[in-house]
Symmetry: C2
């Protein structure tokens, strides 16, 4: 490796200007199309026409990239107008809007839900999201402590539901006609309550379930209001 003829000529100086936004923008579609586990530094870098080590000029760690990705899609969530402006529909309508906005984004970027359960949403967009949540609940006029608990409940419900919704079920291999694993378990008689509800269980759409469960949580929050029934 000392003769110049067999050393590759360095390409025209790669002046591809990179920045964090660009890296994030390259990573997100990969996650959308092939899942979060397909997002590797090698993969993202090669989508940008460079090598993996290049990215370390912009990130300390792969985790940094995941933080950036999370905040980027968090910014895609449409938040309702602040409570003091006319666009707001009251605390309950606002919380509904936030929840359904989150669900909408989770459908476009399923991996967002994974990240949601994995790291704090401390980027600017994540903080704006939190701010909007607290502002909505604040409109109820609860005590500080109750407000924190109410926000926690709503946030936990959203994160938990979306997470559970996206779990892959055990797939029945195609061609073979057979009951699903769950149906077979229900038929054993060992799980009577489960078996009794099983049919309904499959008839409920995820959207309906998300909306209805959310109403339960909001009902519980509403019951905290000073003048609650």
């Amino acid at each position: 490796m000392s003769v110049i003829w067999e050393r590759p000529e360095p390409g025209p100086r790669r002046v591809v200007r990179l920045d964090r936004a660009g890296i994030t923008a390259a990573a997100v579609p990969i996650a959308d199309r092939e899942g979060l586990e397909a997002v590797s530094l090698r993969r993202v870098a090669s989508a940008l026409g460079t090598g993996p080590m290049r990215l370390y000029g912009y990130l300390d760690t792969k985790d940094d990239l995941l933080d950036l990705m999370m905040d980027a899609v968090c910014g895609e969530i449409e938040l309702p107008a602040p409570p003091e402006l006319p666009g707001s529909g009251g605390w309950r309508e606002d919380l509904r809007a936030i929840a359904h906005g989150t669900q909408f984004i989770a459908r476009r970027h399923p991996w967002y839900v994974t990240l949601l359960g994995t790291r704090q949403p401390y980027g600017p967009n994540g903080l704006a999201y939190s701010e909007r949540l607290f502002a909505s609940v604040a409109a109820l006029g609860l005590s500080a402590r109750e407000t924190v608990h109410a926000v926690n409940a709503v946030r936990a419900y959203i994160a938990g539901f979306l997470q559970l919704e996206l779990l892959p079920g055990p797939e029945a291999e195609p061609g073979v006609e057979q009951l699903t694993y769950l149906a077979r378990m229900a038929a054993t008689g060992r799980y009577p309550a489960l078996a009794r509800i099983f049919a309904e269980f499959e008839r409920v759409s995820p959207d309906e379930a998300f909306a209805e469960g959310l109403e339960r949580v909001l009902d519980g929050v509403a019951a905290l209001r000073p003048g609650a029934p």
Copy 2:
């Protein structure tokens, strides 16, 4: 024929007697002590005094091991007596017991929460857990559809809260006296609602938050009762 629970365990071995329970029992303490990412087939196998490929006689995939681990700790959750027996304290008390039992286990095995958001709890213990949840809610006398929604809400809350509770915060490096990242963000004035609640936010214990949020969800479920106020 895709779920490990309905595949038979292979027969006896030559050198060291192994079985799925033994493999699981070796894996769980590793996860407890060093986190889920320390659980590799190489690591578990060497804890059992053998090589990684040995495990493939008992598992098809590493995912199978995670399923086994999840079901194992799921079996550690103390469930209340069934509703028809005297030990049961009514639907609400039962749901509380299940929720707090789950929280208790999540504290001993934090990685359980990660798995909870990652895979279906379809092992025998997971199904027994679901059965108990449905049986408790069934005692309210709701319609099938409402029952499904109520169980979803409770389950989503539990999974979501525990997941969010375990998120690592941004650690302030020791020695340097400085505000946390969140406190600094609150001080920017860009997040007024967040800033207003911030102090309280840090005063609430995780236990209290879990319990209080749960009451909100249970209140919402209670409001569905035929003769609800």
